[in-house]
């Protein structure tokens, strides 16, 4: 890479390009950065006004678009989920109902799979451990926190019963526990390759 001094906006642009290009194979990334750096040092000089500089960068285009243009010839076979991937997704969703063993099997398959990256694996595992079964279990737990005490024929006094705040939190948690696993199942299905 050259040591020519560049306009700060050009340096900033190259930083953005470098970040966008991290998913390219190393050789491609280096070549692309070399060429764009050369382009910038030909098209600009450090004393340029910001406005002139922005015109050059605008003609060059968005770093994301440039990286995207590099990608089609990469064999990024995004073939979607196959039978094994679907089984993994179903186990993560419903496996929890089989005394959690099914979910654990799903998680093991998820982490052993080459169809997903670390980010997808983390999302698939953490949202939500146990899958939909967790929603059921937590409903049972939250539903039985009401303690009622009756003292010698007097009226029943209940503590921990459903106050309105408690009810709202319960509904929110429940909604998350149901929607979360469904969303992460859809996410995994879409990201499988």
């Amino acid at each position: 890479m050259t040591t020519t001094t560049l306009h700060p906006l050009a340096t900033d642009y190259l930083d953005r390009l470098e970040r966008a290009a991290h998913r390219l194979p190393r050789g491609d990334r280096r070549e692309l950065l070399e060429e764009i750096t050369a382009h910038l040092s030909e098209a600009t000089h450090p004393g340029m006004s910001d406005a002139e500089m922005l015109t050059v960068l605008d003609r060059l285009g968005d770093p994301e678009d440039i990286v995207e243009a590099q990608r089609p010839d990469q064999p990024v076979a995004r073939r979607g989920p196959g039978a094994v991937e679907w089984l993994t997704i179903l186990l993560l969703l419903f496996g929890g109902f089989l005394v959690y063993v099914g979910w654990i099997a799903g998680a093991v398959m998820l982490w052993g799979s080459r169809a997903w990256g670390v980010r997808e694996k983390l999302i698939g595992t953490l949202i939500v451990p146990g899958g939909l079964a967790t929603a059921l279990v937590s409903t049972l737990v939250l539903g039985t926190t009401q303690n009622c005490v009756s003292s010698f024929g007097g009226p029943e006094r209940c503590t921990g019963g459903p106050s309105s705040v408690h009810a709202i939190i319960t509904v929110a948690v429940f909604a998350f526990l149901v929607i979360g696993p469904l969303c992460s199942a859809v996410y995994l299905a879409r990201r499988a390759r």
């Binding site: 020519t4 692309l32 070399e34 060429e35 060059l60 968005d62 678009d65 440039i66």
Partner: protein, 115 residues
């Protein structure tokens, strides 16, 4: 006024652009910036200059062009592109096909029939 789909024009551009690059290299080797600027000064050929570089990289991988580094009088060495024999025959084949294609489309657009 009816807007034609942006997709159609950009697909057409994408399909033809690589042969424009090859045509630019027919008589001379050129460096990246020179290719990009020449293309972008032609009307309607290139919308974002930066996307030409990935195209150049692909052409090199396909063995249609090859590159050499040459010293430059005004800065760091430049990567020069030139046609390979494969690239030259690809260009010739395209040029012949393009004439037929262009003539048919022109005739249709002008007269509404293939006379």
């Amino acid at each position: 006024m009816v807007a034609i789909g942006d997709g159609v024009i950009s697909q057409l551009r994408r399909g033809v652009l690589e042969f424009c690059v090859l045509a630019l290299l027919r008589d001379d080797e050129r460096y990246g910036f020179e290719i990009v600027r020449t293309l972008s000064e032609a009307d309607g050929l290139v919308t974002t200059e930066g996307t030409v570089y990935p195209l150049l990289a692909r052409l090199r991988k396909e063995g249609v062009v090859e590159t050499t580094w040459r010293e430059s009088s005004s800065g760091p060495p430049r990567r020069y592109y030139r046609l390979t024999p494969t690239g030259r025959s690809l260009l010739n084949a395209f040029a012949a096909e393009w004439v037929r294609f262009r003539d048919s489309v022109d005739t249709l657009l002008e007269t509404g029939a293939l006379t």
